[in-house]
C-alpha cells in the first residue's frame, strides 16, 4: 500500500489496553513529510506507548499505524527508513559505543564508515571505545541519536529527547532537531514540555489520556486554544468602544485601555482609522503555549493532584 503523498506516519484508530488500563484510546493522526511534528501530552498520556506501537515493539489492541505506507515490522532494513531514540539507556553498559553502533550497522548492512560518520556527527569520536555504561545522560542521548542516524533515515522519532538534560544538552538537541528538519527529514518528537515544542516543532499532535486533543500547526494550536486579544488605548475610548462593539467585538475595560477579543489588531486599526479615532496603543496579546496546553489538557491529566483545584476542562 502506497502512502498518501506527504503523510509519513499515519495512525488510525490506534488503541492499546494494558489489562483494564486504556493507555491509548482510538488515536488517529498523521505526521507530514519533511516537517517537525511535536507529540505533546502530559506525563502518562500514552506518548511512549504510541511511539512503541509505531515502531512495532508493542502490538496495538486495535487500530493500525504505518510509516510511509508500511508496517514497521514489514520493513526489510528499517534503520534505513526510520531512526528512533526511545530510551537512551537501551545500550549494554559493558559494550563500547563503537561496538554498539557496529552491530546495529551490520544488522542493516550499512557500511562501517557510517559508524564513524555518526560518531563524528554527535561528537563522540573521542570516547567511542569507552563502555557506554560510563556515559553521562547527555552522552547516552548523543549515542542514541547516533544510532538513530546510522541508516541516514528520512523519518526520525525521538521520545522525550531533552528529558533530564542540562541546559547545554537541551540546546544541543534543539539545534540538532533544527538541522535534521533543514535536511528535509520528517521528525516526530514527543515532549511534555510545551515551551520545548514551540522552539522546535512546526506541527503538533496533542494527546491527553490516550485521546487525540489537537492536530495541526503550532500557530493554530495557540490561536485555537487561547483567547487572543488586542489592547487599545485612545483618548476617545467611548466612541471607539461603540464602533468596535457595533462590529461584534467583545470588550473589557483594562485600566485606561480596552481589551478587544474576537478581532485582530489589523481590524481594530482599520475600524479606528475609518472612524477617524486617534489611537495611542494598539498591541496584540498572544496567549502562551502553556496556557493553551493547560486549557486543552486540563481535564485529561492522568495524575491530578487531589488537593488542588483542577483546571477546568
Amino acid at each position: 500500500m502506497r502512502a498518501t503523498i506527504g503523510r509519513m506516519i499515519e495512525a488510525s484508530g490506534l488503541t492499546k489496553h494494558y489489562g483494564r488500563t486504556v493507555a491509548v484510546d482510538n488515536l488517529s493522526f498523521t505526521v507530514s513529510e519533511g516537517r517537525v511534528t511535536g507529540f505533546l501530552g502530559p506525563n502518562g498520556a500514552g506518548k511512549s506507548t504510541t511511539m512503541r506501537m509505531i515502531l512495532g515493539l508493542d502490538r496495538p489492541t486495535s487500530g493500525d499505524v504505518r510509516i510511509d505506507g508500511e508496517h514497521y515490522r514489514d520493513l526489510r532494513q528499517p534503520l534505513r527508513t526510520v531512526g528512533a531514540l526511545l530510551d537512551a539507556k537501551w545500550v549494554h553498559p559493558n559494550r563500547s559505543a563503537r561496538a554498539h553502533l557496529s552491530w546495529l550497522a551490520t544488522s542493516n548492512k550499512l557500511p562501517g564508515t557510517a559508524v564513524d560518520e555518526v560518531l563524528d556527527l554527535v561528537g563522540l569520536t573521542s570516547v567511542a571505545r569507552k563502555n557506554a555504561g560510563g556515559f553521562s545522560l547527555g552522552m547516552s542521548q548523543r549515542l542514541g541519536i547516533a544510532a538513530a542516524l546510522l541508516g541516514d533515515p528520512k523519518v526520525l522519532l525521538f521520545d522525550e529527547p531533552v528529558n533530564g538534560l542540562d541546559p547545554e544538552g537541551i540546546l544541543w538537541i534543539r539545534r540538532f532537531m533544527h538541522r535534521l528538519a533543514e535536511e528535509g527529514r520528517t521528525v516526530f518528537v514527543s515532549s511534555h514540555l510545551l515551551s520545548e515544542m514551540s522552539q522546535t516543532a512546526q506541527d503538533l499532535v496533542v494527546i491527553g489520556r490516550g485521546k487525540l486533543i489537537y492536530q495541526g500547526t503550532v500557530g493554530d494550536f495557540i490561536a485555537h486554544a487561547t483567547e487572543n486579544s488586542v489592547l487599545v488605548r485612545s483618548p476617545e475610548l467611548g466612541r471607539l468602544a461603540e464602533v468596535l462593539s457595533a462590529e461584534g467585538a467583545k470588550l473589557s475595560q483594562d485600566g485606561d485601555g480596552l481589551q478587544v477579543s474576537g478581532m485582530d489588531s489589523a481590524e481594530v486599526g482599520e475600524l479606528a482609522a475609518a472612524a477617524r479615532i486617534t489611537l495611542h496603543e494598539l498591541s496584540n496579546h498572544a496567549g502562551s503555549l502553556e496556557q493553551a496546553f493547560i486549557q486543552l489538557t486540563g481535564g485529561t491529566v492522568e495524575y491530578q493532584a487531589a488537593t488542588e483545584e483542577g483546571p477546568t476542562a
Binding site: R52, L55, G56, L57, D58, R59, Y72, R73, D74, L75, P78, L79, A84, L86, D87, K89, W90, V91, H92, P93, N94, R95, S96, A99, H100, S102, W103, L104, T106, S107, N108, K109, A147
Partner: protein, 254 residues
C-alpha cells in the same frame, strides 16, 4: 548470515560470555585433571572417567546461554535489536544459533581438554578412543552442550529475568529431574523420560554399563532410549521449548 554476524558481535563485545567460557573450561578440565591425579591401579583412569566434570561445565554453559538473552532484556538492547531486525523469530534464532555453536565448541574443547590432560598426567592409562561408546563419551559433550544452550536460551526468552531464568534452569537440571524418581510407583518411569536424563544417556550409556564403577565416569542414566535416539529426544525437547519461546516473543510487547 548477516544476523549470525550481528549476534556474534553482540556476544563477544561484552565480558560475561568470555568469563563463562573460561569457567566452563576450567571446571571440566580441572575435574579431568583431578580424576587423572587420583586414579590408581584399583580404579584406573578410563575415557569415561576423564569426562567426570562435564555436568559442571554443562551448568555453566546454560548460565552463559541464559545470560546471553536475559541481559538483552535487562538492558533493553532486545528492543534495539527488534528495531533493527523487526522479524523477531529471525533475530532470536540467530542468537540461539550463535550461542549453541559457542556451546558446542566449548563442549569439544572441554571434553578433549579433559581427555588430553588425563593422557598428560597418566600417560600409561588406556585412553584410546576406539569404540563408539568412547567417542560418544568425549566428542558427544559438544552436542549435549549445544542442545542444552538452546534450551537455556528458550527459557531465557520466556522468563526474561537473569536470576529467574538461571534459578529455574539450575533447579530443574540439578534437582527436579533427580527428585522426580522419588515419586512412588511412577517416579522412576517419569525419570527415564526426562530430557537431561536422555542427554546423560547419550554420553554415558551403552554398551554394558553395569560393569562400570561409579568412580569411572559421570553418573549413569537409566533413560528409556538408547544413546542416539536419546540425543534426538533431547534435541526434540529443545526444539519444542524454542518454538514456544519464539511464539511468545512474537506475540508479546517487547
Amino acid at each position: 548470515m548477516t544476523l549470525l554476524a550481528v549476534e556474534r558481535m553482540k556476544l563477544f563485545s561484552t565480558r560475561s560470555p568470555w568469563w563463562c567460557s573460561l569457567i566452563a573450561l576450567a571446571l571440566t578440565v580441572g575435574f579431568g585433571a583431578l580424576m587423572a591425579g587420583t586414579a590408581n591401579t584399583e580404579t584406573p583412569l578410563t575415557v569415561a572417567a576423564t569426562q567426570f566434570g562435564y555436568t559442571f561445565g554443562l551448568v555453566v554453559i546454560m548460565v552463559m546461554a541464559a545470560l546471553a538473552i536475559t541481559t538483552e532484556y535487562r538492558f533493553g538492547t532486545i528492543r534495539a535489536t527488534f528495531l533493527a531486525v523487526p522479524n523477531r523469530g529471525k533475530a532470536l534464532l540467530a542468537k540461539t544459533a550463535v550461542v549453541a555453536i559457542l556451546a558446542g565448541v566449548l563442549g569439544e574443547l572441554a571434553a578433549f581438554g579433559s581427555w588430553g590432560i588425563g593422557k598428560l598426567i597418566k600417560p600409561a592409562s588406556d585412553l584410546a578412543l576406539n569404540t563408539p561408546y568412547e567417542w560418544r563419551a568425549v566428542a558427544g559433550v559438544g552436542l549435549v552442550y549445544a542442545v542444552a544452550a538452546v534450551i537455556a536460551v528458550a527459557v531465557g526468552v520466556l522468563v526474561r529475568h537473569s536470576a529467574g531464568a538461571i534459578a529455574l534452569l539450575l533447579v530443574y537440571v540439578q534437582l527436579v529431574e533427580n527428585l522426580v524418581s522419588l515419586i512412588p510407583r511412577i517416579g522412576n518411569d517419569i525419570h527415564r523420560w526426562m530430557p537431561f536424563t536422555m542427554s546423560a544417556k547419550f554420553i554415558t550409556g551403552d554398551p554394558d554399563v553395569t560393569l562400570r564403577n561409579i568412580n569411572e565416569g559421570p553418573p549413569l542414566a537409566d533413560a528409556g532410549l538408547s544413546p542416539w535416539p536419546a540425543l534426538l529426544y533431547f534435541a526434540g525437547f529443545a526444539v519444542v521449548m524454542m518454538v514456544i519461546a519464539l511464539a511468545v516473543a512474537n506475540r508479546r510487547d517487547a
